[in-house]
């Protein structure tokens, strides 16, 4: 069996007696895209920094293609590239110089692909880093990571600051990487991004992995929020299969629907609906609905884990 791209066993990081990450056990298979979801302060960035060997675990181990993240960091880093959500680069270097430096350091630069990426992301490499906007700085680190064609891409909220067009380009690049057999560890709090790209999803909350599986296995998370305004009386939908969290405020009805929406639509069709809105619940709503009981990290601990 092929060695895992990423494997953590009982990985724990404690700050001032509070677990930022507790007993984390995850595995990313080769050629797989794993989405790593969680609200702010869940421990996503802390996990990534542990994987990269930038911080030391309190207990447990992590490895990249079998190389220990701490003791064999250099060997592990030969196989990966990393994109942080916030980039602090050398302001006096130009984009081209930065790409040259990072490519030379990694040692596996694909110059033709770099030039292609520069074009696809509409990036201007001749400018100095200090003159780049946040979005352009993010493009720079994305290109730097993709151009070395690493076996593993570790992406920490990689599209922050990118416009929708560039987000689409980013998604295409990640899917191309997957086609070439590269593995991707994508940390995000954007459900749509994760849904569009990932084979499996892990959900982190308050430093603990609370769910992990394929998207179909986690279908129970994908409830819809329905909001309907009626001209007359609001119908009773509490007994409709799949409907929950029903709230009525005057002529306004709001509820959650898990699974098929057809039974609810049948009930609504018999009432005089003035306006009907449906939307996917935000990740925050999903957490409140499914993991509220687990979200018990004290406020102080969230503040302490400033990396996230």
């Amino acid at each position: 069996m092929a060695v895992a791209a990423i494997e953590t066993v009982g990985l724990t990081k404690t700050y001032a007696g509070i677990d930022a990450i507790a007993e984390l056990g995850i595995e990313v298979h080769q050629g797989e895209i794993l989405g790593f979801l969680g609200p702010n302060g869940a421990g996503k960035t802390t996990t990534i920094r542990l994987l990269l060997g930038l911080i030391r675990p309190t207990s447990g181990t992590s490895s990249i293609f079998g190389f220990d993240s701490q003791r064999q960091a250099v060997d592990a880093h030969r196989r990966l590239a990393y994109v942080p959500g916030e980039s602090s680069l050398w302001p006096g270097l130009t984009g081209e110089e930065t790409l040259h430096l990072l490519g030379r350091l990694h040692g596996t630069l694909d110059a033709a692909y770099r030039d292609e990426l520069v074009e696809r992301f509409a990036f201007e490499p001749t400018r100095k880093v200090r003159t780049y906007s946040k979005g352009n700085r993010q493009k720079l680190v994305l290109i730097a990571a993709l151009m070395v064609r690493p076996d593993l891409l570790i992406l920490d909220e990689p599209t922050s600051g990118l416009d929708p067009l560039m987000e689409q380009e980013f998604r295409r690049c990640v899917l191309e990487a997957k086609e070439r057999g590269q593995s991707v560890f994508l940390s995000s709090h954007m459900l749509s991004e994760v849904e569009a790209l990932c084979d499996r999803v892990g959900i982190l909350n308050a430093g603990r992995l609370v769910d992990m599986g394929t998207l179909s296995e986690m279908r129970h998370l994908s409830s819809l929020t329905i909001q309907a305004t009626f001209e007359g009386t609001v119908p009773d939908v509490t007994r409709v299969p799949g409907v929950s969290s029903v709230v009525v405020d005057g002529h306004l009805l709001q509820c959650q629907v898990h699974g098929p929406v057809e039974p609810l639509l049948k009930v609504l069709a018999n009432a005089s609906v003035h306006e009907l809105l449906s939307r996917e619940p935000s990740l925050e709503e999903l957490f409140l609905a499914h993991y509220g009981a687990l979200s018990t990290r004290p406020a102080a601990s969230t503040a302490a884990i400033d990396a996230d």
Partner: protein, 559 residues
């Protein structure tokens, strides 16, 4: 139909008490509180150092020149030396404690104060802007000009702290029977010492408006200090150029005549220049774009990738210009030392007690070598400052998170840290060696007859202290990263103060051993103690090794 579930969704949220209250943080207080806190701490610390240094000079004088005859001989011998005046400023009223103290302290402290002030000003103006914190504050109910005024007031708090701490300590020593100067004279002296800081703080604030990076703003302001100092040197060295005193801030400070012939008139150009710079700073801060400077830089630049192949090359690219300025400055100082050595030694010959003191240092080496032996301790100080700045620059790479881009590549932490420290070590070796070479060139130009190898040795003799401090800095950085800068400069300042204390009289051997300077022989007055120097280098290497080992095993720490 009533709601059947999730009642919380329709219920009105009851606001916590603290949110409903109308307690407001006044916009004026936000920036002011931030800047004044930093400036106060820094200003108070430097004020204490200035006060202690001044007090030590006064005490040293009373202990060294006990009789009136000795004091008059000293005054006579040093009052007409143009070369020495260029270096230290004109010697006035050296037959008095105040005159000697002002001569020994004012020139040095006003330059240090100027550098401190410009670094603080550029940090709190352009440094905050570079870090993006100014943008966050400006999103609040304030304007750029109002924020600039607040920052200036915050800096003023630092200046007041500098003035207050200096004046209190100087007034205290003035109460000593042998010193005996009036409290008003102490206040005026502290004002003179602080006035360089006032003006160059305004210069730093102004250059922060001109250019779009803190490094450049500090470099421009630093260049202004350098030019002002050179003009002051020229005006003091030549009798025909005294008018030049009135075109340099350091000349104005000398004209103030602290402890000798107080002349507050010279405060006028200082106040005028400061006011103009402050007004220009406030106006420009509102007239330019945030994140940009008044002087437009080209956004595009041709790529220079020759050095960008690894951590060492990157370090050279990032710190090369700064190191070049340091090395050039220390070399120039060496040239100056060599150039004035002959004249200074001849002047000192007239003073029996100074001659005796220098002879104790140099044995039979002659007064020129003895004078250079003492003076080269300043070269050692500069080389150590260079080493400290290299530790600070390396730590900054970690604090800003930039190093993470390197350490997620196949680059071991030890390799990166060692490459930074190695570059610092090369800079230290280069600076010390060139100081010796240029001192010889200076001495040759004045027919001082000091051997090339003597002065080369004297320059190399400064290197171990720098390498030791580099090692200590590396250890402090790895153990307590957020306090590394404070630790390395504290070691430097402590060593310097103990060395000054050593000049006063007999001190505890334990105390003297804590000073790095105490382990450096005053070459070329005496031969360098190479065994001791090697031990110092060895200890520095050990500290570096421990630091690298620790750095490889700890969490990276941001700012």
């Amino acid at each position: 139909m009533a709601a059947t579930s999730a009642p919380a969704a329709t219920a009105h949220m009851e606001c916590p008490r603290e949110l409903t209250s109308t307690r407001r943080v006044l916009p004026f207080g936000v920036v002011l509180a931030r800047t004044s806190r930093q400036a106060l701490r820094s200003g108070a610390m430097w004020g204490l150092i200035f006060g202690i240094y001044t007090a030590l000079q006064a005490v040293a004088y009373t202990l060294t020149y006990k009789t009136k005859a000795e004091r008059l001989a000293l005054a006579k011998s040093l009052s007409s030396s143009g070369g020495l005046s260029a270096l230290t400023g004109p010697a006035r009223d050296l037959q008095t404690v105040g005159g000697y103290t002002a001569w020994k302290s004012l020139g040095l402290l006003s330059v240090i104060g100027a550098i401190w002030a410009l670094l603080l000003a550029t940090k709190l103006f352009r440094g905050e802007e570079d870090a993006g914190r100014t943008e966050v504050l400006l999103a609040g109910p304030t304007t750029r000009r109002a924020a600039t005024v607040q920052t200036l007031v915050g800096l003023l708090v630092g200046l007041v702290a500098l003035f207050a701490c200096t004046s209190v300590l100087v007034a205290l020593i003035g109460r000593a029977r042998d010193v005996h100067w009036a409290p008003s004279a102490s206040l005026f002296y502290a004002l003179c010492v602080s006035s360089g800081a006032v003006l160059f703080m305004a210069v730093g604030a102004f250059t922060s408006q001109l250019v779009a990076s803190r490094r450049k703003a500090a470099a421009y302001a630093g260049a202004a200090v350098g030019i002002a100092y050179v003009v002051r040197m020229v005006s003091d060295a030549s009798a025909g150029a005294t008018w030049m005193h009135w075109i340099t801030p350091f000349g104005w400070i000398e004209e103030l005549g602290a402890f000798t012939s107080p002349s507050p008139t010279a405060l006028l150009p200082l106040a005028g220049a400061t006011s103009l710079l402050v007004a220009a700073t406030i106006w420009l801060s509102g007239a330019r774009d945030l994140g940009a400077g008044v002087l437009r830089e080209r956004a595009d630049a041709r790529a220079h990738t020759a050095l960008l192949g690894g951590p060492v090359g990157l370090a050279a690219r990032l710190t090369g210009p700064t190191i070049t300025v340091w090395v050039a400055g220390i070399s120039a100082f060496g040239l100056l030392l060599g150039g004035v050595a002959n004249v200074a030694a001849k002047s000192l010959e007239a003073s029996p007690s100074v001659r005796a003191a220098l002879a104790r240092l140099g044995g039979h080496a002659g007064l020129v070598k003895s004078y250079l032996g003492v003076s080269f301790l300043t070269v050692t100080l500069l080389v150590m400052l260079l080493a400290a700045s290299q530790v600070t620059a390396a730590r900054r790479e970690e604090a800003t998170g930039r190093v993470e881009h390197l350490l997620v590549q196949p680059v071991a932490r030890a390799r990166w840290m060692l490459s930074r420290l190695a570059l610092g070590a090369v800079a230290v070796v280069l600076a010390g060696t060139l100081a010796g070479v240029f001192a010889w060139l200076g001495s040759v130009s004045q027919h001082a007859h000091v051997g090339f190898f003597d002065l080369l040795e004297a320059g190399i003799n400064a290197v171990p202290a720098g390498l030791f401090l580099l090692g200590i800095g590396a250890l402090a950085w790895s153990l307590t990263p957020r306090h590394a800068t404070a630790c390395v400069y504290a070691a430097l300042v402590w060593s310097f103060l103990v060395e000054v204390l050593a000049g006063i009289g007999h001190q505890s051997h334990w105390l003297l051993d804590t000073s790095i300077f105490h382990h450096i022989a005053p070459a070329p007055a005496v031969s360098p103690q190479w065994v001791g120097a090697l031990a110092l280098v060895g200890l520095g290497a050990l500290a570096t090794a421990l630091g690298v080992a620790r750095f490889s095993r700890r969490d990276l720490a941001g700012s």
